[in-house]
Symmetry: D2
Subunit: 382 residues, 4 copies
């Protein structure tokens, strides 16, 4: 029985993915695309199940990856198998907020300082305005920084289960216009977004103030599985990672991670997320550490995960099927989806470090990206 | 006549994109995907033409974007129109190289230092080895850094028209194994990639040593077009950008750019590129400057553009059609494709800054992402 | 009349600086130095007066610089003269706080998450503990970040007029020990400072949450003075700075500034501050912008200025005299001192950009660092 | 016998430091200071000896620290003692070079590209010009980056035993003026330093291309000494450092180090170095790792150490005595001095991590900075 058949028997709809469903009505796409010509078709593979012991995500999950990078799905399957044999991964999605950061330029530092001192007194008013204007968007906090005659303000919002970038843009526009009515001094100029929010670029700021969802995943890999799956041990994994950490520290990169971009790009494209946000989601922190009992502690923290289960491209037919495959379609599912993303990113980090530790980094690429491979001995059983 | 019809009349094949072509033979995907289930279908819109006066890319181009972010394609169309009326954009792709960065850990600093001193003497030998092992991969240079008992080596390669990440991984594996045969001292451990290369993450290193293709695009926008398309002037655009620059400087981000991730993610997905590389391509530098004659000089430099026109996902049916739409399918086209990418990124930056300068940042998002829009008054004419 | 005589006539004590005072009693140094051998004597020059229109610093100030970099004091004198002729500089010291950032590692992500959720409930208790333990140290806020099984906590304190690093270390030690008594779970390990505070290293974090004193200085330089002092104009100054900004953006540096380290190192050594904190004070943002009337707006923002007017080395004889020269000796003077520091840093930035704009960057170094110079035509009049 | 007496008996001159020498002739200071008023007197303590097994620095060294931070010298003494009992530290100074980075702005990208392609052909000519103009300065290499219409050039020089910043400024000025005579196109503007060199600010660039001296120090600390000196073990030290690494990674700092600024600021002030260069010297990489035999491997790499033993403030009386104390006064001593700096920085890192690992971080500060202390049980014996 093929994987498709098994997933169908398990009740999953994959008609659009497998190309057997009805043609997509272009009317559906209004608001998502202009100059519409058709669809880019990105190969979609499934790995899994992976066992997740999260707060919102609990159970065994088949994960869809949209990619054309050979061996990528296989290496996730490999890591999932190793993880499952160690009991799966834990995950918790903590804070959730998205920011917009307008700036206001005044005639002088004195005026700027006065505005920055006055602004916090308006928080309640601005919260009411935001709540009136949107069903889902809530203003949580604001923070002002004086850069000589200019004040940069970070407004932090919650956006329910949407990724929320448009929502917070609209809210901030409204807030700014309201502020202009009674600020102590009129600014010479202002813009809605001053590149402080971190939108579409990696910055370390998310480590201090979550951007999107803040989620961690962790697990302890048993020595036996390290040996079985990567012919290595915890000490070698730890050393390999530390060599990478010291390498990364020479480059001025943001955060500390291996290739979470691989995992997230593939899931984002599959699940109708904004793939440009992969840039900022690389603000991540991976840990790979030997425990006292010679097992391997590994974790990934993603403090800047811009994802949603409503809005954006989530309603598109194949994205909808992918989200449904994860049990994440629709409202109330963003935390769950974030936890799954973190676990998958963790699997990717383990696959990377495991391959390097076992000296198979190049061999894996050589074997996979070029020619036919035999079937994996286990997993991928759907 | 619809856009599809016009493109077909102009001789472009868009059967796979528009869903009227034959079903894709799964055999074709061997080596690109595992756990194959079908395809993620990402809406594909076209904007253009945009006039490019590049070294490799010359003429008027229709650009495919795979995205579900509403208004994205429309805002590029808007910018293309403004750019065309100012004569189009210039572009030059300069350096081309991709790196791998293994590290070797020794018993002592003295041994590491000795290895670093010895290594350059092997360059010619390693170049021969690389050339023998691959038709396309050439070792250009190597550079060693001593971090106490560990030497981090950056090998720079040319990879012809392929993105080349796998190619350089294989070459580096071979080089490392050859080095192990006669290095002065045997390392205690070594890995093929030590996170110094910048693979899948933004680092400023590409500004000093190109990663992928290094390409710049520029144009001078006439005051009349600024007024016409964004109801603004060069002074306001310059100030808006400078406010953003000072904003970005507060965040610890890499490079200096607005949202090149938007442009590149959409083109990468359309054209079969590795979308995870959007993370590193945000290592970019945008400039928006008033000229003495009150026109606007704008440029984008992408020193870290990992793209190819052969290999990877470029052979996939819809990717192939998109590359062909740009006249970039196959060997000999990587520079041309890189120049187009830079011009499109530049358009995106102008669209962003223009919208902010005209105070329409939120309005554009509000209008576009939510409801039907009337057709754009010009452009999009295909 | 020599400068020394003038300063003495003006009532300033400079006996220790000029070497005519009594020998320093080694007993005085207890607590400041071990293995005491004597004193490093760093040449001390004075530039000024510089006119400051600050909130705390108001008037004309002679500024002491301890340095052996030839031309440094002269270039500040030159900039002070130009600034005075444009009315002097404004300055405002806003926020004041210093952080310590312990971390707590738990057995699991779940325990870490629980601790992070519980911790804010203890804020009032911890504030009381801090207030009881110290006359000057007050706990303002705390913020916890979950990195898998480890919680990093930033405690923000006010430290009155002391720089405060030791004060916050002691307070945090006490807080941690108190927390250990009743936290929900006992951590596996913890440390008082986890390198998140930014102590002794540049990080962009201070832009979001002040570290030390947060102070801005600004002025508008008249076209006439630009021409007179640097043979340049506002447009050239702006362009020169922008070229530097685009240069800095290629390097992965923190903040955006020219050489504030020069100004701050020289003042810090003179005034008994911790010179190692120059490293973090380079987290700064300089602006150099042409106004619509072709004058030059220039500003410096220092969000990470670790300075004090009590404690540390401020009581040392020559430091005391230097602080007194600025009217900043003792309690209640830290804001004033911070504002002066910002204005001096601004002067240094103007001197740098002015020299580059006028093409005299090398010439200035050549003339000054090598041979005798004639006296400056104005200023330095003390 | 006091420390002073012992050092004198050992043949070291410390008359200026101890205040018993002749008054300094102000004539001596010409070229080093303007607006001369006298001297800032910074308390100078000595720790040592520390055993160094370097390439240039070999033997036991007494190290001078100019600081008013209580406990600083004592904590170095403590670390020196621990290091000596493990055989001392190894050190190697590798590359030595200093850069200047002018930029040239042209009318177009095409012109800029042409200049960048042409420039390398002039290398030999420029090397000859540099060699003719200076006895000590040699042009080693150049590297050009095209940022649209502007070319940023990094010129790398050797500067013998001088720190060399002024030397390379003059050389670059001369080079630029020579280039202007026959470059293919005349630039619209140019500046001698475009903030790419990393002068006075931390950037990761030095990890790829040494700035100043590139030096590493390392040692293996025996378990017995860890227990004796810090009541800890290698596993705890490693974990403590790793917690710090993961902390630093959240902040966007450059490099990976604890507090090398403390060590370097104190030595720089003592030895007549440019204290403002502490800012860039924090571009460092520290490692603290458990070995397989449960000992502790520790190292510091400083790729950006701007130091000299001739020129600058090195000739000043107390600086001269301090350099002589290290056997580093005058020509031919820069590598030796760099190796000593690295070992001292390493001692500082060990002291920091040791204090944290033993839970004494705050206690050390509390005891030292406030009140009298008994004499240390060993070391400090001079």
């Amino acid at each position: 029985m093929t994987r498709r058949q098994r997933l169908r028997e398990a009740g999953y709809e994959i008609e659009q993915i497998s190309g057997t469903g009805p043609e997509i009505d272009p009317e559906l796409l209004k608001g998502s695309i202009e100059g519409f010509l058709g669809f880019a078709k990105v190969p979609l593979g499934v790995a899994g199940p992976v066992r997740i012991r999260g707060t919102a995500a609990q159970g065994d999950f088949f994960v869809p990856f949209a990619t054309s990078e050979g061996t990528l799905v296989a290496s996730f399957q490999h890591a999932f198998n190793a993880m499952n044999r160690s009991g799966g991964a834990a995950a918790i999605c903590g804070n959730e907020q998205v920011s917009r950061a307008p700036c206001f330029e005044f005639a002088s530092l004195a005026q700027a300082h006065a505005f920055a001192c006055w602004l916090p007194s308006r928080l309640t008013l601005l919260q009411e305005i935001t709540a009136r204007a949107s069903r889902h968007c809530r203003l949580l906090a604001l923070q002002a920084s004086v850069i000589a005659n200019t004040v940069y303000v970070v407004f932090e919002y919650s956006t329910a289960d949407a990724a929320g970038q448009n929502m917070v843009t609209l809210a901030t526009q409204e807030i700014c216009e309201r502020l202009l009515l009674d600020m102590p001094q009129t600014p010479l100029s202002w813009v809605t977004e001053s590149m402080v929010s971190g939108d579409k670029r990696a910055t370390p700021m998310a480590f201090r103030a979550t951007r999107g969802r803040n989620v961690s995943a962790e697990l302890v890999l048993r020595a036996k599985q390290l040996s079985r799956y990567w012919k290595t041990d915890a000490e070698t994994m730890e050393r390999t990672w530390r060599q990478g950490v010291n390498g990364a520290a020479q480059t001025g990169t943001v955060g500390l991670q291996g290739n979470v971009a691989n995992a997230l790009a593939a899931i984002f494209i599959a699940c109708g997320q904004d793939a440009a946000c992969v840039a900022e989601a690389t603000t991540a922190l991976t840990r790979v550490e030997r425990t006292r009992t010679a097992e391997l502690y590994a974790s990934v923290t993603l403090p800047n995960l811009i994802v949603g289960t409503v809005g954006g491209g989530t309603y598109l037919p194949t994205a909808r099927e992918c989200l449904a495959l994860l049990g994440c379609a629709g409202a109330g599912m963003a935390r769950k989806f974030a936890e799954i993303c973190a676990v998958v990113a963790l699997a990717g980090e383990l696959a990377l470090v495991g391959a390097m530790a076992s000296g198979q980094f190049a061999h894996a690429h050589a074997a996979g990206g070029r020619k036919e491979r035999g079937s994996t001995s286990e997993g991928g059983g759907a």
